[in-house]
């Protein structure tokens, strides 16, 4: 049925899906190609004849059909306006049964031709109806016509990385629908304290883990007080954890990389919102200029202050975040995007009628990017980013700030089906300042340490990177190199980071994955704090040598299993948390150490969006440090970390899930002696007791329109429903529990 008032035209939509799987000449000789099923359109493909246009036209579209069957990028490769825009806009709303390889859905790129024929002025039939539909006859199926061979390629997650999509995370108990909160359930991730959004990744401390959103570095992912992530979950498409040996495009962090990709712009009006016990959030996006542009706004607002005032009237906890995005397709091959986001947190306490800020932080980013497609195989991006970070440092107390500007460029070129080049460069300048400590004792060593560690200065960092994806039959190998030049105050250092990743498809279901990489990083603080970074490259660059080897297996019933062993070496490492006997007393020192982390990870998973889905992740590891002649276990070494989750579709739009988390305790650190010789730390010390918790989730959804369109859901979720307490260095903490009751909705 066509939209009233709109002049519709019967048209024929030629949809070609001719998938040709190219696995490389040697493999083609060695064994038959994997079974591939191309995408299949669902429903009819109606494209309105653009108003004010005349004549006939043909538009050729290059369409990315995502693994979930929705349409991603749509490029009009040929065709005049306004037909090109009309075709692109309509195609963005098409739905497909996705392409599959051996039964596994994957993204595919297809070409489609849309032929427009000008309707006679008297007809007003729906575009999807063929001639004669006015008499009630069923429309004929679209004609399939070969246009050109198309290579189907799935862009896999980088070898060694773990990806989790938002749809899955919604069903993960304890994640509160937040993709970033699912990170602590992944193998290789060791929590510091349950509920705290900082963790060790394969032995690397929180300050060595980098967080990126669409390539833009952000200082932290979560709000204070065990709050939600700083980006509305609806804006996040996938989150990838690279625990080591990451692609060359990531650098300047010697631990792990958390990289989030925002959802593709969609021109049709859509959005979602939620109201929970502590906060509310919303996100909405729509198109303009006939679908060439999209505009998105989103954000979250907490009313924890109001709730806390009923419980602890002298304490205030506040957090907010916002996101905004504008995209505009200048031409079918050129897109301009403006992406802005920010977050704010505040903890304050009132005594005798005077409110004192205990902790405050904020960061803002403005990212302007230009994407250009040279052709079907080459894309480029040029972007400039501006940002501001500020934190109120507890214990000092003062504000520290950082203003930053970055320009970056990247290019991606598929030279053939076996060779793909990627490269880029960037330059970033950061201006660090700190207010004078207003009420301090000038003899206070801590204040002097702070000033020495965090001087006011300008940091300039430049880098270039490149890698090549080589598909040699069953073997995909990705060598890469990254060079970074660091300048902070009067100090300069160069980091040379070679990277190598390999994936061998031993059989169609068994893959062997290796990663290796060297990563450099400037000295880092305990945890990421906006506006605070150790200056002047004190102590020099940190270096991590990361390697892993693993096997990934696709099992029956849509299960995937991965077994990985890893071995990381950290040289000149900043890890105050991991080496200090009392991190609180030595927060403003930077003790360097030699570190090592070895272990094995097991990950068995079935998508949580299945009727019955779940996963089991287990990490066995040992993380050690050496300072001088002393060799000991890292303060946050946990031998065993395990998570198990299961989600059920109970029918009638009820979904339930539970997650069980268990990990062994950290080593008990003997307190620092009062004299010169502190008691030695052992490689086999006593430990805190094991901690476990159970998270629960229950959802009931109602669809307000069919097929599954607008919806509203009631969700109850509890992290640590068992109210189990945790022990850290002999001190019992908690129970830290986060209950959430709320209503969510989307359209």
């Amino acid at each position: 049925m066509g939209d009233p008032g709109q002049s519709m035209m019967r048209l024929s939509c030629l949809l070609l899906v001719f998938a040709l799987v190219v696995l490389g000449a040697s493999r083609a000789r060695a064994q038959p190609a994997h079974e591939l099923v191309p995408p299949r359109m669902l429903g009819d493909a109606s494209v309105p004849y653009p108003g004010g246009a005349h004549g006939e036209a043909t538009v050729r579209l290059l369409i990315v059909v995502k693994a979930d069957g929705s349409v991603g990028d749509v490029i009009a490769e040929a065709g005049e306006e306004p037909f090109a825009t009309a075709a692109r806009t309509a195609a963005a709303a098409w739905r497909f049964e996705p392409a599959t390889r051996d039964g596994q859905p994957l993204a595919a790129r297809i070409r489609s031709e849309v032929h427009f024929s000008e309707p006679p002025p008297s007809e007003t039939e729906p575009a999807s109806a063929p001639a004669g539909a006015a008499d009630g006859g069923a429309p004929p199926p679209p004609k399939i016509e070969a246009v050109q061979e198309v290579t189907v390629r799935g862009d896999r997650v980088a070898p060694g990385a773990t990806s989790i999509g938002r749809a899955e995370v919604r069903q993960l108990p304890g994640a509160f629908g937040d993709p970033f909160r699912a990170l602590d359930a992944l193998p290789g991730v060791t929590p510091i304290v349950s509920g705290l959004p900082f963790f060790y990744v394969r032995g690397a401390p929180p300050g060595n883990v980098g967080y990126f959103i669409d390539g833009v570095k952000v200082p932290y992912l979560f709000h204070a007080g065990a709050g939600p992530s700083v980006i509305h979950p609806a804006m996040v498409d996938t989150v990838e954890l690279h625990p080591g040996g990451y692609p060359a495009r990531f650098g300047r962090f010697a631990g792990g990389i958390v990289s989030a990709t925002s959802a593709e712009p969609r021109p049709e009006l859509h959005g979602e919102g939620n109201i929970r016990l502590f906060d509310m959030g919303a996100l909405a996006e729509t198109g303009f200029a006939d679908g060439r542009g999209t505009a998105l706004v989103g954000g979250r607002y907490s009313y924890t202050a109001l709730i806390l005032s009923l419980i602890a009237g002298d304490t205030r906890l506040d957090y907010r975040d916002f996101q905004g995005r504008l995209t505009y397709d200048v031409t079918p091959k050129d897109r301009l995007s403006l992406f802005t986001f920010g977050a704010y947190d505040l903890v304050a306490q009132t005594t005798n009628g005077i409110e004192s800020v205990l902790f405050g932080s904020e960061f803002y980013r403005l990212d302007l990017r230009y994407d250009h497609r040279f052709g079907p195989d080459t894309t480029s991006r040029v972007a400039v980013t501006g940002g501001f970070d500020q934190s109120h440092i507890p214990g000092q107390p003062r504000n520290s700030q950082n203003k930053l500007g970055q320009a970056r460029f990247s290019i991606d070129h598929r030279a053939s089906d076996t060779v793909r080049f990627r490269g880029g460069a960037d330059a970033m300048i950061e201006d660090y300042t700190a207010d004078e400590r207003p009420y301090s004792d000038p003899d206070d060593p801590t204040a002097k340490q702070f000033n020495a560690l965090f001087p006011a200065r300008d940091d300039l960092t430049t880098g270039v990177w490149s890698d090549v994806v080589l598909q040699l039959g069953i073997w995909q190998i990705v060598p890469g190199l990254r060079l970074d030049l660091y300048n902070s105050g009067d100090a300069t250092a160069i980091g040379v980071d070679p990277r190598l990743a390999s994936r061998i498809d031993v059989t169609k279901r068994v893959h062997v994955i290796h990663t290796f990489g060297i990563a450099h990083q400037p000295p880092s603080f305990l945890i990421p704090v906006p506006g605070l970074a150790i200056g002047s490259l004190r102590g020099g660059l940190q270096r991590a040598i990361q390697s892993s080897a693993g096997v990934e297996t696709e099992l029956p019933e849509d299960f995937t299993a991965t077994f990985t062993v890893f071995d990381n070496i950290f040289q000149n490492m900043s890890d105050t948390l991991g080496v200090s006997r009392d991190p609180g007393d030595s927060a403003f020192s930077d003790t360097r150490s030699l570190g090592s982390a070895v272990g094995a990870e097991v990950y068995l998973r079935r998508k949580l969006t299945k009727r019955v889905g779940g996963y089991v992740s287990y990490t066995l590891s040992r993380s050690t440090r050496s300072v001088g002649t002393e060799h000991f276990l890292s303060t946050f070494d946990r031998t065993h970390v395990a998570n198990a989750a299961i989600a059920f579709d109970l029918g009638k739009n009820w979904r339930a899930g539970t997650r069980f988390t268990i990990y062994t305790g950290t080593p008990l650190v003997p307190p620092g002696g009062n004299g010169l010789v502190a008691p030695p730390r052992s490689l086999n010390p006593d430990r805190d007791p094991t901690f476990y918790r159970l998270d629960l989730r229950l959802e009931k959804r109602w669809y307000l329109s069919r097929p599954k369109g607008s919806w509203i859901a009631f969700v109850i979720e509890v992290m640590n429903a068992t109210l189990h307490k945790e022990t850290l260095q002999g001190q019992e903490i908690g129970p830290v529990t986060i209950p959430s009751i709320g209503v969510e909705g989307g359209l």
């Binding site: 505040l346 005077i354 904020e362 300042t433 003899d443 307190p671 009062n674 008691p679």
Partner: protein, 328 residues
């Protein structure tokens, strides 16, 4: 004091922005804590039994001065300093900023590598005080590595041509709070006063107003080691029991020697059980394990040593020593 960035004022989504606020609190009062020696450092003191006691050198490591939660805290002096009492009166200990009625807290504790050196104190002094050694009384952990020195008192006593030396090193960490500027009444039981102070509502050792500057002094009385009573108001100084402890006659009195002297040489009533106080994780005082005082050494180490610090000349504070009595 804090900059309000340009972004805060021009952000396109102003409703969602909320910048970390500037400091709008009223200006605080300033409290300067100082340390002074008692008059005994200047020419010595004469005991009731005729000994002239002089002090060769007295070092004390103390600091970590702060306020209780009952007032608005703007800034504290969370660091320690080694004070040489021979360097004079009014030596700076720390500067604090706050508003309202506050209880004060501070501590004596063995120094670390961040401890600030006071006048006439050298790095060698700090390193010497950091050396962990054991004695029968200091804090013992499972590692048995000992502790550094909180007090290091070297005294010499002479009478009728006889000279005795007494070098006392105290290795416990003592936290002080609930300070009062009033001297304890002569007939009062310190134990009863301490109990009353420990479990009352938080005292107001200082009342700070906007822009007010106040200086409070801690007076260290090393001669307090020779008191015959814990109440300094009513106690007399007696050195005879110490002299008598020098059983090997080498002129140097050791801690082990005074531990061999029965308490009856000081107190006719004999052995007593003394209350102790501990500070829990919330910073509150609570009753600790009582200690049995049987010898002169017990009396000096467990009861007298923590009372050497006086608040504002004649006042006193409730002290809670960490650790327990060790074997021996």
């Amino acid at each position: 004091m804090r900059t309000r960035p340009f972004f805060c004022l021009t952000a396109p989504l102003a409703l969602a922005y909320a910048c970390v606020p500037a400091d709008t609190r009223p200006p605080p009062g300033t409290l300067t804590m100082t340390v002074s020696p008692s008059g005994a450092l200047d020419g010595g003191v004469t005991s009731a039994d005729g000994w002239t006691i002089t002090f060769d050198r007295v070092l004390v490591a103390l600091g970590n001065t702060g306020f209780s939660d009952s007032c608005t805290v703007y800034g504290e002096a969370d660091y320690d300093r080694i004070i040489d009492l021979g360097a004079g009166n009014g030596q700076k200990l720390g500067i604090l900023h706050g508003l309202g009625q506050c209880d004060l807290r501070f501590r004596v504790a063995a120094p670390d590598d961040q401890t600030v050196l006071g006048a006439n104190v050298t790095e060698d002094d700090r390193q010497a005080m950091r050396i962990p050694l054991t004695d029968p009384y200091e804090l013992q952990t499972g590692s048995q590595t000992g502790a550094g020195a909180s007090f290091d008192i070297a005294a010499t006593a002479t009478r009728a041509g006889v000279t005795k030396h007494f070098h006392f090193v105290y290795r416990r960490r003592v936290r002080y709070q609930r300070c009062t500027p009033d001297a304890p009444p002569a007939d009062a039981s310190i134990a009863a006063l301490a109990q009353a102070a420990a479990f009352s509502d938080s005292g107001a050792a200082v009342d700070l107003h906007e822009n007010e500057e106040v200086t409070y002094d801690l007076r260290i009385e090393p001669e307090g080691l020779f008191r015959d009573d814990v109440n300094p108001t009513s106690a007399a100084l007696r050195f005879d029991p110490f002299a008598a402890a020098d059983t090997n006659g080498d002129g140097t009195i050791t801690l082990d020697e005074i531990r061999a002297v029965p308490i009856t040489t000081i107190r006719d009533a004999g052995a007593i059980e003394a209350s102790t106080y501990e500070v829990d994780d919330a910073g509150l005082l609570r009753r600790g394990q009582p200690v049995v005082i049987e010898t002169l050494g017990d009396f000096v180490y467990e009861l007298l040593a923590p009372t050497l610090v006086r608040f504002r000349d004649v006042g006193w504070c409730v002290g809670s020593a960490s650790g327990r009595r060790g074997p021996g």
